[in-house]
Structure formats: C-alpha cells, structure tokens
Symmetry: C2
Subunit: 435 residues, 2 copies
C-alpha cells in the first residue's frame, strides 16, 4: 500500500448508529487501513444540530448534507439517517458522480432499490447494505455471495427486535400485549411511536430485501403481505403453549413451484410478515428478546441459521464498517461488489393463494351437532382439518381446530363463515401455524 | 453479458463433493450464467478411475490432473481431492499461471496457506475456500468480509460433524465412546479410519484457518493445541449432566490482552481443540448430531452464531459453487477477492499459558482432612477453586472440584499432584469447562 493512498468518507447522520461509525472509524483507524490497503479519512459528518455532537471534531460537522454528497473528493458516502426523502436524492447524487454508497436504510431499499442499483450500475460504483437487515448479522453477503451457487427455497426471519422482545415477554411472563409494549418502551426497545415495528412495516421492508436477493427477483415493500402483532393476545400465547409452540413475528419468503396450464412447472415467490405459531423444537423458537435470527433453506446447502443482535448502535455500525471496508478495497484494488440480480423476475404470489395452516379457537355451544356444523364449514371451503380438540363443557365449551395447508383466502373465508354459524358464539383466536 | 463470454472450469476430484459440484454446474448452468454474467463451462474433471464415473461425460474425464491444472484455457480450478501432496503442487501450478482456485482443503490451507496466498498475490489471482470450514455454512466470507470493520475477540466452533455425532449419541443415549463410534461408523458419519476426526486433527486445521482470518495473524496447524474425544467416558458425560452441561469438542480461538513488562497492553492469540463442558443454556449446547455451528464474539457486533450442515456432498458443493461464482464474477467484471490479511502478526500463546477452568472428579477416602489436603494442592499451585462438592460416603466418597480460570499448565500440574495425594484414590475425570 502506498503511504499516500486515502479513501475519503462522508457520513450522513450521527445518531445511535452514526456516532458509533464515527467512533470506530477513529479508534480502529490503523487496523482499518491495514485491511483496506489505504487509510479511511473521515471528511464530513452531516447532522441536523451540530451543537449536539461534542464527541465529533467541529470542523467535520456540517448541516449541509447535499453539499457533502456532492463533494467530488468524497469517495464513499455512509448513510445512517433513514427515511425516504431527502435521503433518496442524496444517495442518487452521490452514486451519479461515482461515489460508493453504504446504507442501513431498509425502507429506502425496499421501495427504491432498483432505482438505486440502476444508478450505481450506470456509473459502475458500489451499493452495499448489510446493515439494512438484521443489524450485525452477516446476512446480505452470505445470501448474495456465499449462496450464489445454490437455489434458495425459503427464508424465515425474526428480523424485528422490538416485536420479538414484546412477544418474548408475553410468552415468558404471561403479560398482555399492552403491558409488554409499555415495558419495551420503558426499556428503550420500542420507540415512542412504535407503529413501524409493531405493525410490521419494518419487518416487511426487510422481507422485501431478503426475497429480492434470495430469489433474484424484484420484490418491493408493496408486494409484502403484512400483519403486525397488536392483535396478539395473552390467550393466543396460551393457545400456542398448549400446542407446544411460541408465537413469533416472522418474515417469510418462499419460492413455490406449481403446475402450469400446460403441465409444466410454474415458479413464483411470496413474501409476507405475520405472527406464526412456531414449534418449540424449531431453532427460531428459542431466539428471544431483542435478538434476530434468519433461517435459510437452500436446495444444496440444506438448512442454515444466522443469529445475533439485530439492532443497536455498535452492532449496526459493525455491519456498516464491514461494507465500508469492502467498498474501499474495491476502490483501491479495482473491482466491483455484486450488482442487482433480478434476472429470474418470478411473479409474486398474492397472499390469498399462499398456502397457510391455521390454528382456530372457537367458543361454541356444547350441544350435539356443533362439530358437524363446524366441520361442514371447512369442508365447504375445501379446507382439510389436521386436528380438532374439544375443551370444557356447557358454557365453557371450545373447539380448537388446526388445519392442513390451504390457500390463505380459503382459510380466511372459512373463518368468516364459522363466525356466522349459530352454534359458534365467538371465534376467539386465529393464528397461522408453521409448516 | 456478451453471448460468447465463458469462464472455463476444471475440477480436481469427483468423489462425494466433486460429483455434486459437477451435477450442480450442469443442472443450474443457466442460473449460474445469469449470476456470473458469463457461462461456466466445465472443461475437465480429474479422477483416478474414469470408469467409476458414469454420470460424467467421458470426454471430460482425465486421469492427468497435472495436465488439467496446466491448461492455459482453464480459468478456474476447483479442488476437492484433499491431501497435501500432490494437491499443493497442482494448486501452485494453477495459481502461478493466473488461474483462480477454489478449494475445500482445510489441511492444505492450515499447513501451507501463506505459500498459496503469496503465489495467488504474486500474479493477482483469487484463492477462495469457504468449503474448507463448516461445509455449507457461510463463515469464511462473513469473517473476512462482513466483520472486516470489527475486532473479533473469540471464535468457538463445533466444526467436526463426526465427533459431534458421537458426543451427541453419548449424551442422548448414555452410550460409551466405543459404542457411539461404532454406530457413527455404521451410519457413515465416521470413516473406517476415524483418526483425523476423533483425534481432533480435522478440527485443529479448521481452528488454524479461523484464527488466521479472525485475528489477521498467521496461525498454522502446528500452533493449535489438540486433544480429541477418545478419552471422553460415559462418566464424564454424566458428570457434565450433573453440572447442567454437555460435552462438546470445540475449536476455540481467542485474542487476549495482558499487561506487558512496560505496563502497556500485550496482545496474543490462541487456538485449541479439546472437549469442553458447555452449559445447556449456551447456543452451542443444542447443536446436535452432524450439524456444525460457529459462535463469534466481536467488539462492536456482539455475539453471532452461524449454524448448518457441516459436511456432506451437496452442502459442501454449495459452498464451492458460491466461491466459484465469486471467482468467475471477478474474472468477468475485474477485481479481486480478499487477499491474506496477516498484518497483525500477533504471537501465539502456548497452551500452558492459556486460561482454563477445570472440572475434576476425585475418588477419595472419606476421612477428616481429605478436603484440606485437596484444597492445599490447589493453593500450592495458585489455582483458585470455584466450587467443591462432596458426594457419597465411605468407599464411594468423591469430591467434585470446579476451578476458576488459571493457566492450563498450573491446572495440569495440580491434577498431577492430586493423583499423588495419599487420600486421593483416583482422579476419575478431568475436563475443561467453558467460561
């Protein structure tokens, strides 16, 4: 390495993640230089309120992010401010003039990934985003590089720490949803406005990114079916426990093969986020608290799991810096990281066609004919029942039905017609079941 | 991609892994071409007995591996024959003329990695070896790329499926070592000569590779302390169970910081393979059968775990093909994969200085003064006792001692002096304890 070689880095944002990126860039400067083959020189940090960042040298701080991304001497832009606008324009500006970009912005990638990729490709620069999914866990690189010679069939992920913390607390301590959310907020695991987490928007953006990479197909946030956890009740958690399961909010990406009209195979992909009853024997069932884990099935590799801290300043900064080293190495040694791979362009299956299994808890009248009426409603919709269990008697009677796999729309329709049956007082709980 | 662009691949070996590599290269040719941006053309497969490979087109088979690696039109050599010689010379020949190399050969890398790397660097070509450690689990790429911006402090791995199968069987079914080994052999998990697995040679080679990458320091197979599992008895397994633990053969790589003579910090690394009592609450404790898992601690990222099939034809072929796609992409798009990173050049700590904790089971005379004598032996060696438990009485009396961390040599010395005590009838079991 030549003594003069330098890669100049601009950072957008100095919040929880950005401040750790700046700290590590400084503290590990010598080690990073040895690994890159050039020094990483921090030349600017764009923030909103410079007086709030006493830990960063004042001469590096700027409120003018647009000027920082446009500076011709900045080789790589690290983006950790989040949001769609003005972030998208800032990154497009940086990419257009040939800067490499490292971002942790899952929402931006899920909505505008193809535009960002196309801009990077047009000028031949790098776009890396390991930190956008599952924080510190190396996942994007394994999916788009290590498994590049394999055919991924399924990705199941616990990719949102807030909801996993809440569901873990409900499971461990029997808390209700509101109580567990309040505790998560008090401990800093949930934001003041928890919508993006508890309603599944965050996980859906990550599902879109994982499905896109895993299946070489563009899957956007709008393609992802999404249900959050706010409707999960203590009785759902108890029902899961009786089944030997726990409830997890999973991002589920699947590649399925059906028989087409001409008898040949027709492939499609699906991506969805919703609560699922996961058997305790599954490796994802034991992933508790704010941890993340992603389970990947591939034809040749078999079943893999990646586990670690899914958020937090230092872990996310670790993923950002790994990408920064890669982009900087490419600039020093020549070469490019992987581009968008969307050649497969498989159709995205609508949620109604996706095969699901349901666990349905019914409050029923304890009289002859109830089971027949309920079974009839399933049969009419063509949904096959796996197990049915009657619990209690008289006023407390309930039926617990677990179905075989059936199209989600047929199951949803069955639940609606069950609610209309005279002998069914209430549909107490409906939850999808893994497998 | 230009229609004519082709990357020519030669494969050394068509055994369990090689035959899967050939199959996947053929079956997934179109997908691989889309991912690489060029077709991967298989131009030769070197085997010992061509008549044993009816599944491979005869015109591709050759017994002349030396001629295949020397062919100027072969862009990438995939090596899955194993062994040191003649494999090393074959790969050096390929690298010297600028071919990329993908290998699964842990023993060769652990012994001659620096020479292979230097040869690749001299001509600017690629050396990839994801399949050398933990089969299909993406591990090398996460360690040398995703975590390139972090400081790895510890790597704990279950990296040998044969020994993990044997230890799992001893734990689950109470089998003795010989019985469990016989079962593993019968089921194909152990080879006819199981030495490389059960004596820890295979795991030690992998520990050397992991330590080298993780700590940016050359660590060879000879630097790795090694104990296998053949001395693990059913009573050791039972003793672990009483402690709420299971016995695993771990590859342990650690970076430690001590205070030097001038008061400043002195860093060193260590790498070792031996049986360890692992608490059931640790994620590695539940990794059973032929599965592998590697647990990584890094300063910023925190604790990560990678889990999956550690061996087998198709899983290993998946890792090989991921590397092949990377090498081929580099040849098409320009650029290089990561080179050897050994800049830190930290000293390797001798095993005697490594801090260990021991679990020691003593068959003792049940009389006053025994505990004092035993405690005295520990005190004399400067080893601090964490817990001591007396079990049984009279002829059955035993003492179970668990120590705090102490230099391994001091602990080994203490065990020797315990055996010499008049009141100690026998040292029944000695096992290192995690933590």
């Amino acid at each position: 390495m030549s003594a003069e070689q330098v890669v100049r880095v601009g950072v957008l944002g100095a919040g929880v993640v950005g401040s750790q990126v700046v700290r590590l860039l400084t503290e590990q400067a010598d080690e990073l230089a040895a690994r890159v083959g050039a020094r990483l020189e921090l030349v600017g940090v764009a923030v909103r309120r410079p007086n709030r960042h006493a830990d960063i040298p004042a001469e590096l701080l700027t409120t003018d992010a647009a000027a920082l991304v446009a500076r011709e001497d900045v080789d790589v832009i690290v983006e950790v401010i989040g949001g769609i606008e003005p972030t998208k324009d800032l990154l497009l500006t940086a990419l257009r003039r040939g800067a490499g970009v490292v971002t942790a912005n899952k929402a931006l990638l899920a909505e505008h990934g193809p535009e960002l990729y196309a801009t990077a490709d047009a000028v031949g620069t790098d776009l890396y985003f390991e930190a956008a999914v599952a924080g510190a866990i190396p996942l994007i690189r394994p999916l788009r590089e290590s498994l590049a010679g394999d055919r991924i069939t399924r990705i199941l992920g616990i990719v949102n720490g807030t909801t996993n913390y809440i569901l873990s607390a409900m499971t461990a301590d029997g808390m209700g949803y509101d109580e567990a959310l309040a505790e998560a907020t008090r401990l800093g695991y949930a934001e003041a406005d928890p919508t993006a987490d508890v309603d599944g928007f965050d996980a859906a953006a990550k599902a879109a990114i994982l499905a896109s990479i895993g299946f070489h197909t563009r899957v956007g946030a709008a393609d992802v079916y999404r249900e959050g956890i706010s409707a999960v009740s203590a009785s759902d958690v108890a029902a899961a426990a009786r089944l030997g399961s726990v409830i997890k909010l999973l991002a589920i990406c699947e590649r399925t093969t059906a028989t087409g009209p001409d008898g040949g195979p027709v492939e499609s992909v699906s991506a969805r986020v919703h609560p699922v009853m996961v058997p305790r024997s599954h490796p994802l069932a034991v992933v508790d608290g704010a941890y993340n884990a992603v389970y990947v099935e591939a034809e040749a590799a078999g079943r893999l799991m990646f586990y670690g801290p899914g958020a937090g300043g230092a872990p996310t900064a670790s993923a950002v810096l790994g990408d920064l080293v890669a982009v900087a190495r490419n600039r020093v040694a020549g070469g490019r990281g992987p581009r968008e791979s969307a050649y497969a362009a498989l159709p995205v299956q609508p949620m109604g066609e996706v095969l699901s299994r349901y666990h349905i808890d019914l409050d029923v009248a304890d009289r002859a004919g109830v089971l027949a009426a309920v079974a009839g409603a399933f049969a009419e919709a063509g949904v096959s029942i796996s197990t049915v269990r009657q619990e209690g008697r008289d006023d407390d009677a309930s039926l617990v039905v677990v179905t075989h796999g059936a199209p989600d729309a047929a199951l949803a329709g069955t639940v609606a017609s069950l609610a209309d049956l005279e002998s069914v007082r209430q549909v107490t709980s409906v939850m999808r079941v893994m497998g």
